[in-house]
């Protein structure tokens, strides 16, 4: 379990980083917290020629407010998000999800951008992004764009991001008075990737995003419609999960996971604030 040989670069500006990624003669991969990429390299599931460490690019980190959105730099570590008053106040759904992500040692290094770029189907932050209807800022040597959450997740470990693009920041709408959020996750051991989880926003329309149900986080649009019509009809919302296309995994077959999805949704709604 040793990584294949690679070159290591640590650019100090975004442009330098983008230039390396734009060079098509070599396969370059950004390195953020390394909490997923390093194990993948050791398993030889990833074998980039060049590793572009983003740790030296200061403008990729930080949290600020911009036009009603909270903008989080891609390299912002989970632990900094957990310590942020702005996140706790203005993006309470993210704040609720963070303690479920792995363990302190991993949160010390792991980044929000890394998690979204990887887009593990059992990870928390993609579902939070989807439930909040946020967007992802992407930039390459030839330009920049912003992709809405609903258009970002393509398939298992596949996103709208092109190989030469960096995620630079994540935009999440700021919570307004009266908005309510709920988060519930089922794991066997604290800090594990979820068996099933759900992020729920009523802001003021309902958005419900499940994770660990399929190749990508999934919005439960039928359940959302039920709740948009009658927020108290939780039974009908749970019944509407029948239309979700849920895959089985080592924790259980699709029927088991659909059952758990219903339990998680009830509990998430029950805990909304």
């Amino acid at each position: 379990m040793k990584a294949q040989d690679f070159r290591y670069e640590r650019p100090s500006t975004m442009d330098e980083a983008l230039a390396i990624l734009a060079d098509t003669d070599q396969e370059a991969q950004p390195l953020a917290g390394g909490q997923s990429l390093m194990p993948m390299m050791n398993f030889r599931l990833a074998a980039p020629d060049v590793l572009v460490d983003l740790g030296g690019v200061p403008e990729l980190s930080g949290i600020c407010e911009d036009n009603g959105e909270i903008v989080i730099g891609a390299m912002t570590r989970y632990r900094d998000l957990m310590a942020s008053e702005m996140v706790a106040r203005d993006v309470p759904l993210l704040a609720a999800a963070l303690p479920h992500i792995a363990h302190p040692a991993i949160r010390n290094r792991g980044t929000l951008g890394g998690s979204l770029a990887l887009s593990d189907p059992a990870a928390e932050s993609p579902a939070v992004l989807l439930a909040l209807g946020g967007s992802v800022d992407l930039r390459s040597a030839s330009g920049q764009r912003s992709v809405a959450a609903d258009e970002f997740f393509f398939g298992l470990y596949e996103t709208a991001r092109q190989p030469e693009e960096l995620i630079t920041a994540v935009r999440l709408p700021k919570a307004a008075p009266g908005h309510r959020f709920g988060f519930y996750e089922i794991t066997r051991r604290h800090g594990d990737y979820a068996m099933i989880g759900v992020a729920v926003a009523q802001a003021p329309d309902w958005r419900i995003a499940f994770f660990s149900v399929a190749g990508t986080p999934l919005r439960a649009t039928d359940a959302e419609a039920v709740l948009n019509a009658d927020a108290s009809d939780i039974d009908a919302a749970v019944a509407a999960l029948a239309s979700l296309e849920i895959d089985g995994d080592r924790h259980g077959d699709p029927a088991m996971k659909r059952h758990l999805a219903g339990v998680a949704l009830r509990r998430a709604i029950g805990g909304m604030s």
């Binding site: 379990m1 040793k2 294949q4 089922i186 080592r250 259980g252 077959d253 088991m256 059952h259």
Partner: protein
């Protein structure tokens, strides 16, 4: 203060005290010496290409591209080791009828499990070796895999070894009393259950690792490894590499956990030694976590149909079961893979008065990783079969589960005696242990809490187990059947010129604290401050001959040898001192590192005595032959095993919507005889319980029907973690064994052996008002929801 000194008042009384061990600070400060820390001049590194299929014909390999990788030194295939390594067969003569096939370190013609070594690349670094692995083209033809042990016995099933004619490795039955009549008798309530015990494995913190160095000028092999039984490995390398035993030195320095994983013959380790012999250069092999999951022995994997009959007054009328266990494609060498099944037959029901007992076990080959002895061999199966049937039957007749045990446990004053299966039992305390358990857990209080919680829709359950543990085995375990496994151990105690003690022992340190308790025993019985004792274990060149660590025997057997050696040296030293001080040995004592009068007044320091002997022998009478070193050996006689007993209980809460089980509390009363170090014993029990919780709730090596291991990583194979573990309360009953002066039995496996049954009982107790029941381990959320009929 007046009156005679008791054992615990004496200076240097360490036995029975929570003495911190010297190794702990060294290891915590990062000064451990593990195999991977070893760097030898000219050392090369090995990596293995392993079979991607569970069953495949090996046609050959294209190695050209791999050989061309700069830094690659040699590539060896299974065929290349023919004639270099003598094949090994995992059978023992006392397991009559056990059959297995000759095994080579790397597959030659047929690969029989996913992960079996095929090709060994030896290179300047492990990374380079792995680069080369990626370039090897293996010509393999997949064959039908046989993975399900029941299907493996069907007529017409594909054979794993054509030469054996069947996939059945071994079968044994026990039939005592009149089982059929007992079940048929009036007033007997019978419960029948099907149990499944999943495969799991040891997950040692330090993976298996080896460095082999061969000196062609002397024909000597030195093998550093992370293991439990250096002398056994010495025999194996000598026999199978064609060396003299005295030319093989096996060294096990610090070992990061074993649990029975590191006491077997692994192809990658044998290949490492063989390659070192072929090349004349040191070679290092360190298993990575993927290799650990694929090749460290797995354990359990039993399917059991069992039934128990209970009379109306709660007496066990009869117990019967049929066990089938899948052991992988070979019986593991040299301990065999039939011992677990044998233990299940021997131990099931052993705490109870049972007159009618019938059992069968069949040990079956399959195309999965090898199954063999892991902590608490057979115990979790045996305890779960009997105690889960017992609690289910008690529930059926409406009897409390503590009460049903009171009516069936062997009486504490009824020993020595035999179990239903014919095991010789002595010095056990089931009744006392059960009562103590009920007291420390506040059984009645927990029952009241349970009733209260149910009113609010919270499903809590309480489960118990009464258990035996096999410890301190005699030669009846292995040696009798022809295995190169010593059941005796030796200890040497030497007084050095500085007045300190240098002790050595053939039992080994795996992180459990053996070195610490050996020092306690030697210091206590010799009469010296413990910080003047230095311990050597794990080196066949320097320690006495013996068996190492397995079957909870280090303290009981190695400890007794150490006690006897320390007592012998004390007598020898007093003989010398009496001559020097012109008095009688009986008028002298050794206390706190000095020779004293019986009232404790110092006559001379041990250093003075030793320096006189070593440097100024001219001062001694010429007919005096002082010996400042003593060696003693010890083995258990008269009993095949020294059984211990315990009683344990679990309290769980089941989230009946998610199937999640939370262990709220765990209690263990353990009778391991003399407790040498309560801190270490308690941690052994707790660690064992946690591994038992792992087997009951979390851990399983998941294979698909093709024999592919699906969860070979720490992310997907769930070991229990601290956050989910309950407080584990440990208490003791001390019934010393009559077989030794020390009186210590073993304590290393009880928790792992007992906890699963207690947990299964607790979960079933919680589910019972909903009509659900589960007899499959691990008890995962999905299985619990299925048991409830929710999904």
């Amino acid at each position: 203060m007046s009156g005679p000194l008791t054992d615990l008042d004496r200076p240097n009384s360490y036995i029975g005290r929570a003495v911190p061990r010297a190794d702990a600070a060294r290891l915590l400060e990062g000064r451990g010496r593990f195999v991977d820390d070893l760097q030898l001049p000219r050392m090369l590194h090995a990596a293995f290409l392993r079979s991607p299929y569970a069953h495949a014909r090996v046609n050959g390999f294209d190695l050209e591209a791999a050989r061309a990788v700069p830094g690659v030194h040699t590539i060896l295939t299974g065929k290349d080791l023919e004639g270099v390594v003598e094949p090994y067969v995992g059978v023992l003569s006392h397991l009559a009828g056990l059959q297995s096939a000759p095994q080579m370190p790397m597959a030659v013609d047929v690969a029989r499990w996913q992960g079996e070594p095929l090709v060994m690349v030896i290179a300047e670094s492990r990374a380079i070796a792995e680069d080369a692995l990626g370039l090897i083209e293996a010509d393999l033809d997949p064959l039908d895999p046989v993975t399900d042990p029941e299907a493996a016995l069907e007529p017409g099933a594909a054979l794993i070894h054509d030469s054996l004619g069947s996939n059945l490795a071994w079968e044994r039955t026990v039939d005592v009393g009149d089982v059929d009549a007992a079940f048929a008798a009036d007033g007997v309530t019978t419960v029948e259950r099907s149990f499944t015990f999943g495969r799991h494995t040891g997950v040692t913190l330090e993976t298996r690792a080896a460095v082999a160095a061969f000196d062609p000028s002397t024909d000597q092999l030195t093998f550093w490894y992370s293991g439990q039984a250096p002398h056994m490995m010495q025999f194996i390398f000598a026999k199978h590499l064609g060396l003299m035993e005295e030319d093989v030195r096996v060294i096990a320095h610090d070992v990061g956990g074993s649990f029975g994983i590191k006491i077997h013959t692994y192809g990658d380790e044998v290949a490492t030694a063989a390659a070192a012999k072929l090349l004349g250069r040191p070679i290092k092999f360190v298993a990575d976590r993927l290799e650990s999951f694929q090749t460290d022995i797995h354990a359990r994997d039993h399917i059991v149909k069992g039934r128990m009959g209970l009379t109306a007054d709660g007496k066990i009328a009869a117990l019967e079961f049929d066990d089938i266990t899948g052991i992988g494609p070979f019986s593991m060498y040299p301990r065999t893979s039939a011992i677990e099944a044998n233990q299940v037959l021997n131990l099931t029901g052993a705490p109870y008065e049972i007159e009618n007992y019938r059992a069968r076990s069949r040990v079956v080959f399959q195309n999965k990783n090898l199954m063999c002895q892991y902590r608490a061999v057979g115990h979790p199966i045996a305890m779960a079969i009997c105690d889960c049937l017992l609690e289910d039957a008690a529930r059926e007749i409406g009897m409390d589960v503590a009460e049903v045990r009171r009516r069936n446990l062997m009486a504490d004053d009824s020993y020595p005696r035999q179990s239903a299966s014919g095991m010789k039992l002595a010095d056990l305390s089931h009744q006392q242990s059960l009562e103590k358990l009920l007291e420390i857990m506040d059984y009645n209080g927990l029952r009241a809490d349970q009733a209260q919680a149910r009113k609010s829709g919270v499903y809590r359950g309480i489960g118990l187990v009464s258990m035996v543990e096999v410890t301190n085995p005699s030669p009846a375990f292995y040696g009798i059947g022809g295995a190169p496994i010593a059941s005796q151990d030796g200890a040497t105690v030497r007084l050095d010129a500085g007045g300190g003690l240098r002790i050595s022992s053939s039992v080994t340190e795996q992180g459990q604290g053996t070195n610490g308790i050996l020092a306690q025993i030697a210091a206590d019985r010799f009469g010296i401050p413990i910080d003047r004792v230095r311990v050597t274990t794990g080196d066949t060149d320097t320690v006495p001959y013996g068996g190492g660590t397995w079957a909870s025997r280090g303290a009981g057997i190695g400890g007794e040898a150490m006690l006897q050696a320390a007592v012998a040296l004390r007598d020898q030293v007093l003989d010398v001192a009496a001559v020097m001080l012109q008095t009688e040995p009986s008028k002298l004592d050794i206390r706190d590192g000095a020779v004293t009068d019986l009232d404790g007044s110092e006559r001379m320091t041990l250093s003075d005595l030793a320096r006189t002997v070593y440097y100024r022998g001219n001062e001694l009478p010429s007919d005096m032959k002082p010996e400042l070193v003593a060696t003693r050996h010890y083995r258990v006689t008269d009993f095949p095993f020294v059984f211990t007993n315990g009683a344990m209980a679990a309290q769980v809460e089941v989230d009946v919507e998610t199937g999640m089980v939370k262990v709220l509390g765990f209690w263990a009363v353990e009778d391991c005889g003399r407790v040498i170090n309560p801190m270490l014993v308690d941690e052994q029990v707790r660690g064992g319980v946690v591994q038992g919780i792992g087997g009951a709730l979390y851990e399983e090596c998941l294979y698909d029907e093709e024999g592919q291991l699906l969860n070979a990583s720490m992310a997907d194979y769930e070991v229990p973690m601290a956050a989910e573990m309950p407080d584990i309360v440990v208490a003791h009953v001390e019934t010393p064994t009559r077989t030794s002066e020390l009186g210590a039995k073993g304590a290393g496996e009880a928790g792992t052996g007992g906890a699963p049954a207690a947990l299964m009982n607790a979960v079933n107790d919680a589910l019972s008002p909903l009509g659900g029941r589960i007899h499959q381990m691990p008890m995962t959320p999905e299985r619990i929801l299925k048991a409830l009929g929710t999904v």
